[in-house]
Symmetry: C2
Subunit: 117 residues, 2 copies
Amino acid sequence: MRPIVHPTPDEITVEGILYALSDPVRARIYAQLAEAACARNCAAFLDIAPGGKPLAKSTLSMQMRILREAGLIRSERQGVEVKNTPRCAELKEKFGPMIEEIMKAYQKSEGKKRGRR
Amino acid sequence: MRPIVHPTPDEITVEGILYALSDPVRARIYAQLAEAACARNCAAFLDIAPGGKPLAKSTLSMQMRILREAGLIRSERQGVEVKNTPRCAELKEKFGPMIEEIMKAYQKSEGKKRGRR
DNA sequence: TTCGTTAGTTCAGTATATATGAACTATTGA
DNA sequence: TCAATAGTTCATATATACTGAACTAACGAA
């Protein structure tokens, strides 16, 4: 199994971030990590998809990899689990309020969806 | 030839916007439109790709379609040409400063690339 | 050490999306 | 009616993403 690699702040690109966050599932995962005070393992997100249908483990694994390789999260093995944390400080340093604004926009649109029902 | 269609503000989604802007070529097209005071036809963007290699007309046509269907631009036939304008006001109304922040981040990263040479 | 369990990754096949040259369409002007 | 211009659509090659099945790594118990 290949070791977990992370991009340095230099290697993180705007397009990579936008692509990673252009999937609602990945955006929700990042949102939950950014809100939570503590690290979360991957399994915590198995039921994150709207509609309650659980994600395949392999799908989730790939989504986490995309988030990681985009530079949004940091993943570290701790025993059998992999703990994920958002790279908020580095991202804010590099991109200013961009990512926060994206998450705000998502929040707003989710709110509307719920309200419309 | 099918008529040109645009999403209503309601139909514009965060994920669609992020996806459309996650391609540097599309992001540059949008940036130029947002800066320019006037509408631009498609052909104006044939040489937009970094490296000077011109885009195929069919490729550009598709990129414009993705921007249009995401809700970022409005395209209107004027004679033989199609005039494109950014939907800045509607987008700002719906997404606040998100898109501006994205464009700022791109600007900054392009600046760095040029500076590094 | 070996076995079982848990958590996650990789593989392989399939499905979906993107890029582009060639052919086509719409509009204008001669 | 014909030619020119500006884009679009089509067909096909290539690349990416999704998912079940098989695999691996870490740990605890016997």
